[in-house]
C-alpha cells in the first residue's frame, strides 16, 4: 500500500495538465467545434506562462497570461472555422504547427532559465487523512482547481441553462438557431474557453510541474487530450479518470526505469501512448457493436443558416 502512494500522487500531478486540456476540448467539442490545435495551444501556454512568470516574478500572472494567449489563439481557430467555415481539421493542425514553431522561436532565450513557480500547499485537515490525504490533497493549488473544475463542468453541462444550450448546439445547431440563439457566438465562446484551458494545462507543465522551459515540452500531451475526450465519451469525470490513468502509467514507467531493468527506456517511455492507442481501439470496437457514443452529432461541421442539409 505504502509504495502505491507516491505513484498515485505522481499520477495526479502528471495527469493534471492533460486534464485541463481535455476539459477544454470537451467544452469545445460539445459546442460542435473540433480543435486539433491543443498541442500547439499547450506549448504556447507553457511558453507564455513561463516567460510571464519570469518577467513579473508572480506565477499567478504567468498562468493568467497563458490563459489569455490560449483564448486569443483559439479565437483565431473559431474565426476560421465558425465565421469562414474552414475545414476544422486543417485549421486545428495549422494552430498546432503555429504554436509549436512560435513557442520554440520565442522560447530560445528562455532555455536553461529557472523560475519560482507554484509550490505544494497541503490542504489543512484533509491532507492528514490516511491514503487519500497524501494522494489527493498534498499538491499545488492548480490540482485542487482542477478537481473543482471537473465537478463544476459536470454540473454546468447537465443542470444549467447554458449547459443545455451547449449540449444542443453541438447536436443540432439548427434547433439552437430556430430557438433564436446565436450558434456562432456560442461556438466562439466555447472554443475560446477550451483554448484557454488547454493553455493553462501547458502552463502547468512549465510554471508548476517542471518550473523550466524546454522546447516541445508537452511531448504529445495535447494529442493525448484529444484522444481522452473520446475515451471519456465527452464526460468530464471519465476524462479525469483517463488523464490520471495516463499520468499514472507515465509515473510507473519512470519508477521502473529508476529501479533499473533490462527493458530499454524508449520502450517504457512509449507505454502511456500505447495504452492510449489500445484504449481507443477498444472503444471503437465497442462502438461497432452499436453502443451509443456521446460524440456531438454536428462535431466538425460548419453551420450556415440558409444552406439546407
Amino acid at each position: 500500500m505504502e509504495i502505491l502512494i507516491p505513484i498515485l500522487s505522481a499520477a495526479i500531478r502528471s495527469g493534471t495538465p492533460i486534464l485541463y486540456a481535455t476539459l477544454g476540448e470537451i467544452l469545445t467539442e460539445k459546442a460542435g467545434v473540433l480543435n486539433l490545435g491543443l498541442e500547439g495551444l499547450m506549448l504556447l501556454g507553457a511558453f507564455s506562462g513561463f516567460s510571464a512568470t519570469m518577467v513579473t516574478g508572480n506565477p499567478w500572472v504567468g498562468l493568467a497570461a497563458a490563459v489569455c494567449v490560449g483564448m486569443a489563439v483559439s479565437a483565431l481557430h473559431a474565426f476560421l472555422c465558425v465565421t469562414m467555415g474552414a475545414n476544422q481539421v486543417v485549421s486545428g493542425l495549422a494552430i498546432t504547427m503555429f504554436g509549436t514553431g512560435m513557442s520554440a522561436l520565442l522560447g530560445k532565450a528562455y532555455v536553461g532559465e529557472t523560475i519560482r513557480g507554484l509550490g505544494i500547499l497541503p490542504v489543512p485537515l484533509l491532507a492528514k487523512v490516511p491514503l487519500l490525504g497524501p494522494v489527493l490533497f498534498n499538491h499545488d493549488p492548480l490540482v485542487y482547481l482542477s478537481y473543482v473544475l471537473v465537478g463544476l463542468t459536470c454540473w454546468f453541462i447537465s443542470s444549467t441553462r447554458w449547459g443545455l444550450t451547449l449540449r444542443a448546439v453541438g447536436e443540432n445547431p439548427r434547433a439552437v438557431d430556430a430557438a433564436g440563439l446565436s450558434v456562432a457566438r456560442l461556438r466562439y465562446a466555447y472554443t475560446m474557453v477550451g483554448g484557454g484551458l488547454a493553455a493553462l494545462g501547458g502552463a502547468y507543465l512549465s510554471v508548476v510541474y517542471t518550473q523550466m522551459w524546454v522546447e516541445m515540452m508537452t511531448a504529445g500531451r495535447g494529442w493525448i487530450a484529444v484522444a481522452l475526450v473520446i475515451f471519456g465519451i465527452w464526460n468530464p469525470l471519465r476524462a479525469a479518470f483517463g488523464s490520471y490513468l495516463f499520468g499514472g502509467v507515465g509515473a510507473l514507467q519512470l519508477r521502473i526505469q529508476a529501479a533499473g531493468t533490462t527493458v530499454p527506456a524508449p520502450l517504457l517511455l512509449m507505454l502511456p501512448y500505447i495504452l492510449t492507442i489500445v484504449v481507443l481501439v477498444g472503444i471503437s470496437v465497442r462502438k461497432g457493436k452499436g453502443i451509443l457514443l456521446g460524440a456531438p452529432a454536428s462535431l466538425g461541421q460548419p453551420f450556415h443558416r440558409e444552406e439546407r442539409d
Binding site: T160, R161, L164, D177, G180, L181, R305
Partner: protein, 517 residues
Amino acid sequence: MESGKQQPLVQMLGITKSFASVKANRGINFDVFPGEVHTLLGENGAGKSTLMNILNGLYQPDAGSIRVKGAECRFSSPREAIAAGIGMVHQHFMLVPVLTVWENLVMGLPDLKAVLPKREVIRKIGELSGRYGLDVEPEAQVWQLSVGEQQRVEILKMLYRNAEVLVLDEPTSVLTPQEVRRLFDTICQMTAEGHGVVFISHKLDEVMEISDRITILRSGEVVETLPGPMATREMLAEKMVGRKIVFAVDKAVLNPGDTVLEAEGICALNDRGLPAIRNLSLSIRQGEILGIAGIAGNGQKELCEALVGLRPIQFGRVLLRGKDMTGRKPMDFLRAGVSYIPADRKGTGLVGAMNLRENFALKNFWRKPYAKGPFLSWESIAGETGRIVERFGVSAPGLGIPVRNLSGGNQQRLMLGRELSGTPDLIVAMQPTWGLDVGATEFVRDQLLRQRERGAAILLVSEDLEEVLALSDRLAVIHKGEIMGMVEDPRSASEEELGLMMAGIRRETAIEGEKGR
C-alpha cells in the same frame, strides 16, 4: 372568417425572395387572422416553405414587408419572430434527439432560470398537454419518440413560447390517420382560443376539411385566395398545377407471371439490435404489386432493407427468380435488377452535398454506358440525368447544384426518376409519394403502374391506406414485424377489418369478430 372587421395577426406584403437563379417567392401577399386556419397550397417547389421561413425570421426577404398586428416588423432571426408571437413547426423537425422532451422545450428560452427548473417546466408541460390534447412523456429522450410524438413536442415548444400564430409545414405527411385526427383536434382547440394557424399540406381532403381560407401558390406567385368551404378537390388541383388531375387510378387487368421475389420465414433486427421482422414470408410475381399496410414503425423499413440486401437476415431465405440471395451484398441485388426507393430520401436515398449527376451515378456507376472500364462517362451520366429531370419534372436550376438545395418534393422526384427509369425486375418502394404534390403523386402512381405492366414485381410499403388500396393487387398488413393477414382483393377489403389487423389482430380472428357482431 370575417376578414374585414378584425385586424390580422400577421400580414406579409409583396414578399420576394430568390436563391441564386431561382425565384422562390415573387411579390406574395399573405395574412392570418385570429382564430382561422389559413392554408398554403402549391406544387413542390412553389415556395411555401420559403415564404414561411421568411415569416419565421430564418430567411431574409429580398423585398416586401411583414406586419404583426399592424406594426411593421423585421425579423433577423427566429428568436425575434417567436418574440412577436410567430412559431413554426418545420417540415424537418428542429429537435435535439439526445435531449429530453422538457429540455428541448425550454432550450433557448430567454427568461429561463440559471439552474434548470425541471419540476416547474414539467408541470407547465402537463398543463399545456392537457389543454391541447398533446400527450408526451416529458422525461423521455426525443430519439425514443415516434414521429407523431416528436411533432407534438414541436407544437408544445411553440405554445410554451406563447406563439399566437403557428405555422405547420406539412405536418400530416408523417402522421398515421389516427394521429392526423388528433392533430386536427389540437388545431381546432388552438383556433378556438384565438390562435392563427398556417397549414401546409399536399393532401387535398385534409386541406378542405381544416381550412378557413386557402391561398394557392404557383412558381412563387399567388394564384388565388379562396374561402375553404367553397373549395373542391378538382378545382384546387387544377388551380395548383394549371391542368386537370385525374384522381382515379386506372389499372389494367394483368395475369401475374413468374415469381420474382420470395422471402421464406425471414427474421431481422432493427438498428438497436431488437427483433424487427419475425418469421415473415411473402412472394411477389411479375406484373404484381404487393402492398404492405401498417402503422409506421412496425418493421416496414427493416423489411425493405432486408429484401434489398441492406440489412442482414438472421434466419430464413430471400430468393430472387429462384436464386438464393441470402447474405449477398447490396451490389449483388443491384446487379440482379432490384430498385429501392427508401423513405428517408435524405439518408439512404440521396447525398445532399452531391449534385444531381453525382446522385444519379451513385446507383449506376457500375454499368454501361455510365462506366467505361474504371472511368465514369460523365457525358452519358449527364445525358441520362437530364432526361430524368425532364421526364420526372424535377425543377432544378441545373444538374450541377447540390440536391439539398432542391425542395423536398423535387428531391423525391429525382430519386424516383433514378430508381424507375431503368428496367428493374423488382421495385421495393417505401412511401414513394411522401411529400409530393397531387400532380406528382398522380405521376408516380402512373409510373409504378407502368412498371407493373412492363412486368416488374413491386413491393409497395405505405402508411397511406388509400394509396396501397388503390394500387395493390394483393395487400398484406404488417404489425410488429409479422404479417397479420393477406387480402387477395384489396378493393373489397373493409377499412375496419384492415384497421383491426393494423392494431395487431390476425385476419382469421378479425373476420370472425366482424361476423360475430
